[in-house]
Amino acid sequence: MNVAARQQKDNMLLGMSGVGVIAGLLAAAATFAQGHSHAFNVTREIPWGVLVSAYEFLMILAAGLALLVSVGLSLKLEQYAELSRKALVFALASMAGGFFLIFMELDHPVRMLLFAVTSPNITSPLWWMGLFYGGMIAVILVQLFLLVRGVTLFRRVMGMAGVVATLMVLANMGSVLALLENRPFWSEAFVPVHFLISALITATSLGALLVFWERLRMESSVPLPEREFMVRAGRFLFFLLSALAFLIAGKLGSGLYAQPPGEFSALMTLLNGPLSLNFWLLEILVGLVLPLAILCNQWTRTPTGVVIAAALALIGSFFMRYDLVIAGQLVPMREGGLEKGEQLLSYFPSVVEFGLVVGSLGICLFLFILAEKFFAGRRKTS
């Protein structure tokens, strides 16, 4: 093993993510200087923009990673202990990136911490979000402790606890949108199920990329156990992407067949409206068709093929979150918000919003690499 080469690769990724962190901090400074209404392109009619969708992407990724690890612990899959540890660390880093975004999105995050405790509203899915995140973080930390210390006792119990905790998070995240009766595009059971499948897709994709990155760092070819993992991950990803394709087809079909008001207009923004490029190119082609094509047969479902499919699926997942959040808001609640002659509202992220999203991804990667350096250091000294 070439330690210097490995450290160089780590430092390179640390540097790249550091640039992202700096971009995020500059965007945060711009937000404080200008105020939200000037820094962001959200409006009265479209109050939730790319910050919310990117936050959802990162949290869904974290929940998916925690869910897969929890299932593995429950089934006592000891051979994946090291990968599980990495996945949990990435989940925490992803949550840190997500919390950065939501803290920037909220006008008064400190009030949230105070009044969520002193003035809770238990009918609000957003309130339950805080509780479930806390539960998931607690479970992740205990699981991480058990894995790092090599403690096998309680792993199964913590695995099962993790499954429950992560499913609560995903169901609740879906219900934030699904319980809004006025937004028919969101208001159905599709959203929580979509979130669950997306979580598994993003987590599986990231798992494959983590294995790839580890091999790249080690500058060695993929050993047999990890080859088997990659092929299995590829099969699992194929199954998940197929399920997602089925779900999306069902949503499109029911919306186009009955054309329910509100939902049909929102669907058309994806099919031939302002979000059609995102939808057809990034969600369907990049996020579904290409990965499925790579993963559907044994000749292309190689470790390299799985890595390419995983990267594409992750990109597609990011835009799926964005399109879901924005399409649900482009149809106005009343005509007053429209410019003359327009049928739909419009939204495009501002430079500051882009910067914050880049910053959140940078924070996620930066913290992960730092953590891995820490764990590598501990392994050397122990």
Partner: protein, 184 residues
């Protein structure tokens, strides 16, 4: 004594789209300047007929002070509340700016007020009403489109208007039970 339940009844045939109500509201409630910042509005309906036989209607609107409030349900810190008389309020010091209530409102009745650092909306000018005065939009309207009163009082003008005339609410299918009634 029965609790009051405030409501507004609108006769949109009288509306001339002068926007006096929106100006009065902004002045009375210190609503900041800006396109997005308004507590009430007037929607221009589609033109009817062909030139020279044309017609147009205008539909004033504001927070519907719903009986089944989606905004109150989703607010995580109970910044949004409902008074006993049905007026839906916002406590600015508890508002965290998540804008969930804005996303949940079927009527686009809410906006984020940068000056107070909270979501803002029509409150039927509660500060005036509790002094025995009328809301600013009702008071200023030159053609008396809006009538304000207590629906729990069968002798109030709003109760009589609703008893005499067929009326509708906006988006009844949402199940929000709005307390802004439009005479048909």
């Amino acid at each position: 004594m029965k609790t009051k339940r405030f409501a507004i009844v609108l006769d949109t045939r009288k509306c001339i789209d002068c926007k006096a109500c929106t100006v009065a509201c902004k002045a009375e409630n210190s609503v900041p300047l800006g396109r997005d910042n308004h507590r009430n509005w007037v929607t221009e309906e589609q033109l009817r007929g062909k030139f020279p036989n044309l017609g147009q209607s205008f539909t004033p609107g504001q927070c519907m002070q719903c009986g089944n409030t989606p905004c109150n349900r989703v607010c995580p810190t109970k910044a949004t509340g409902v008074n006993a008389d049905g007026i839906v309020t916002v406590q600015p010091k508890k508002c965290i700016g998540c804008k969930y209530c804005m996303t949940a409102c079927p009527y686009n009745a809410r906006y984020y007020n940068d000056e107070i650092g909270a979501v803002d909306k029509c409150t039927f000018c509660a500060h005036r009403v509790y002094e025995g005065r009328l809301p600013a939009c009702v008071d200023t309207c030159p053609t008396k489109v809006r009538v304000f009163g207590d629906l729990n009082d069968p002798n109030s003008e709003v109760s009589k208007l609703l008893a005499r005339h067929p009326h509708r609410v906006i988006k009844p299918e949402m199940g929000t039970k709005p307390f802004l009634f439009y005479l048909i």
